[in-house]
């Protein structure tokens, strides 16, 4: 079997092709599954609606890169515009544009999944070899403070945490040969990320898997029969317009298109039970910025590597992983300006201090209660509403972030909500009590979507069985974060790779 990568926007495409297994999505889940299954001798075709961006095709420019590397050209949001849903879109998936954080699924979370959700086969012991493989795939290492790419933004946050006696950690990452240019969130032109694009995809191709780019899966038909048909639309070279059709016949269909995309495809296809599209977790994040007298230049070096873990709990009795984390973050000018408040001369004044800015994201574990809907036109609707408990926790997290920045010597802390909250001393912290976080008044974002096709031992409680097999369908599987019954980790790349290895092994064990 001869593997390869074919861009359907630039090649003559057949109207129909066949494979034993059709994987939808080429990210950490899809590429990993394709790799494992192709190595086991299975005939695998992978559908990816994005293109392939490596090297200097990754221009480090906001406009072009958000257009090409994120779903809906970077514009995906919840239906009420409360949360910007940042979902990678590239050969290799979200790992192409993430901040390279590697955090495996904590044992406490897996034990809760066993206890609360009945996932008995997902014990820490059962997952251990797959979590180890994930770390190996990602070449995960933990940077040290002597690493020159741990930038001033991360160091200032640590300074603040140390001054307050708060715990924190340098997070493991999957970089090798990093040049510290800081453009991780719009792709690395040095190809220094050890992500699915550079590990699982070439591994799968070498083992015979075929990857089709600019191939958007829009419907799965005959899901209850042995031979399924995946309807595919070919896209133009920029991925903006559908220009043709293709049908893929396969005995097994594996959904690995992110939590949102996998649930969306099932909903659109009318497959599965009432849990499909439900139980979505967005793990929302709120930026907090600060101005320092000295230059910070947070846009160089690792955008995110130090996090304050003082307020994070892994084994909350009711929620499992809970509390909040505060993690350094940076961005290229366009995306930073789109988050900062201030219009007219005031907005320009804020951005004139870009090189002096520091920033963090307050990351909240959440209960999986969002929903994915698809209108008749095919338009996606992500329903998600903050509750009062989340608002309270966000205010608390913003207060902690502000305190850390002040302790580190910030001249001013800005919480970029409408109206913006400016904090120059601890006495100003009470201003955060007035923050309402009502929809479209804060730049909340989600980078770790999970759920939507919840795994559960019974169709009463979820949309797919613990091996990922979608209830009500025959050999249609979900292999990515869509199956997670709750937030797996503060950063989902490593959990997704581990889960894909685990589920591929389960599929391999039960199939000829």
């Amino acid at each position: 079997m001869s593997g390869g990568v074919v861009d359907l926007s630039r090649s003559a495409a057949p109207e129909e092709l066949s494979a034993e297994i059709c994987v939808v999505g080429s990210g950490p889940a899809g590429a990993t599954a394709a790799w494992d299954l192709a190595r086991a001798g299975r005939d695998v075709v992978v559908l990816e609606e994005a293109g392939d961006y490596t090297g200097t095709a990754l221009t480090q420019r906001d406009g072009r890169m958000y257009d090409q590397l994120y779903m809906d050209r970077g514009g995906r949001t919840t239906a009420d515009l409360s949360v910007s849903v940042l979902q990678g879109r590239a050969l290799g998936g979200g790992g192409v544009v993430n901040a390279c954080d590697v955090v495996p699924i904590p044992d406490a979370v897996l034990r809760r999944w066993q206890r609360r959700f009945g996932l008995s086969g997902w014990s820490p012991e059962a997952l251990a070899p797959f979590q180890a493989r994930a770390l190996a795939d990602l070449s995960a290492t933990r940077p040290g403070w002597d690493d020159p790419h741990v930038n001033a933004n991360n160091r200032l946050l640590r300074r603040g945490a140390d001054a307050l006696g708060w715990r924190g950690e340098l997070v493991m990452h999957n970089r090798a040969g990093c040049g510290g240019i800081g453009s991780c969130l719009v792709g690395c032109p040095l190809d220094a990320k050890r992500n699915a694009r550079f590990v699982a995809v070439p591994g799968a191709v070498a083992a015979g898997a075929r990857f089709l780019l600019r191939a958007r899966a829009v419907r799965v038909e005959a899901a209850d029969r042995e031979l399924k048909t995946v309807r595919v639309r070919r896209l133009d070279p920029d991925g903006h317009h559908e220009v043709g059709e293709l049908a893929v016949r396969a005995r097994v269909v594996i959904l690995a298109a992110n939590a949102v995309g996998s649930a969306q495809l099932l909903v659109r296809s009318g497959i599965g039970n009432e849990h499909v599209g439900e139980h979505l977790s967005l793990q929302p994040q709120l930026p907090v910025t600060a101005v320092f007298d000295e230059e910070v230049r947070f846009f160089r070096g690792y955008p995110q590597t130090f996090g304050i873990t003082e307020f994070e709990r892994l084994d909350d009795e009711e929620h499992g992983w809970w509390g909040y984390r505060i993690e350094a973050i940076s961005g290229t000018p366009g995306i930073v300006a789109s988050i900062l408040p201030g219009l007219g001369p005031a907005g320009k004044a804020w951005m004139s201090r870009y090189a002096h800015l520091a920033a963090v994201l307050c990351l909240l574990p959440d209960e999986p209660r969002g929903r994915i809907e698809v209108e008749r036109s095919g338009r996606l609707r992500i329903r998600y509403a903050l509750d009062e408990e989340q608002r309270r926790r966000f205010r608390e997290a913003a207060r902690s972030a502000a305190r850390a920045f002040l302790a580190a010597g910030a001249r001013e802390v800005l919480v970029p909500v409408v109206p913006p909250v400016s904090i120059r001393s601890e006495a100003d912290l009470a201003r955060l009590d007035a923050v309402t976080l009502r929809p479209a008044s804060a730049p909340l974002l989600s980078a770790h979507q999970q759920g939507g096709v919840r795994l559960a031992p019974s169709p009463r409680d979820g949309a797919a069985d613990p091996d990922g097999r979608v209830y009500g369908a025959r050999d249609v599987y979900v292999f990515d974060s869509a199956g997670f019954p709750s937030s797996a980790s503060s950063h989902t790349m490593a959990p997704i790779v581990a889960a894909a290895h685990h589920l591929a092994a389960r599929l391999g064990a039960r199939s000829p």
Partner: protein, 177 residues
């Protein structure tokens, strides 16, 4: 595409509330050929000349020339960028965002009982009016958020702006930092 400037109905307001959803952040700012100082409404692909003017006036209010640094909206064709973005959007988003532009133009009349449309306000009035949208009802907050973020992303992705904010631009060209 011509906008319908008839009074926007409640039903259409609700549709507008759903509209901006596919647009926020609008990284789609992408592949715009920014056209420089002189706008060319004649070459528009998705919006009409009136919508173009509304956007151009909004852009000048949000990014005035001078102030903290010289470049402003007159140096970057933000309205043209929006048109280029919109032309590659799905039909439902093109319709909804065009309606949002109508709403913006009529905002002073519909929401504040004034006798002038947005484009006919002075630059200072335009900015103040738009700022009020950020704290108004959900629909206006959504529209304000969407346009503000799109323009911010495009404006600050412009190399001419970077020296003024201390950004030295992309470091990798031709494969080496």
């Amino acid at each position: 595409m011509r906008a319908d400037f008839s009074i926007v109905s409640r039903r259409r307001f609700l549709r507008l509330a759903l509209a901006a959803g596919g647009f926020l952040l609008a990284g789609g700012a992408a592949s715009f050929a920014l056209r420089g100082r002189e706008a060319r409404p004649g070459g528009l692909r998705a919006i009409g000349e009136r919508e173009y003017r509304t956007l151009a006036q909004l852009a000048r209010a949000l990014f005035p020339d001078g102030g903290a640094f010289p470049p402003g909206a007159s140096d970057v064709d933000l309205a043209g960028a929006f048109d280029a973005f919109l032309a590659d959007e799905p039909e439902w988003n093109r319709k909804d965002l065009t309606r949002a532009l109508v709403l913006l133009e009529l905002g002073p009349i519909l929401f504040e009982g004034r006798l002038r449309t947005f484009s006919r306000l002075s630059p200072e009035e335009r900015l103040a009016h738009f700022e009020r949208w950020g704290e108004a009802g959900l629909l206006r907050r959504q529209v304000a958020t969407a346009f503000r973020r799109f323009f911010a992303l495009v404006f600050y992705d412009t190399p001419a702006v970077w020296p003024h904010i201390g950004y030295d631009g992309p470091l990798v060209r031709g494969g080496t930092p």
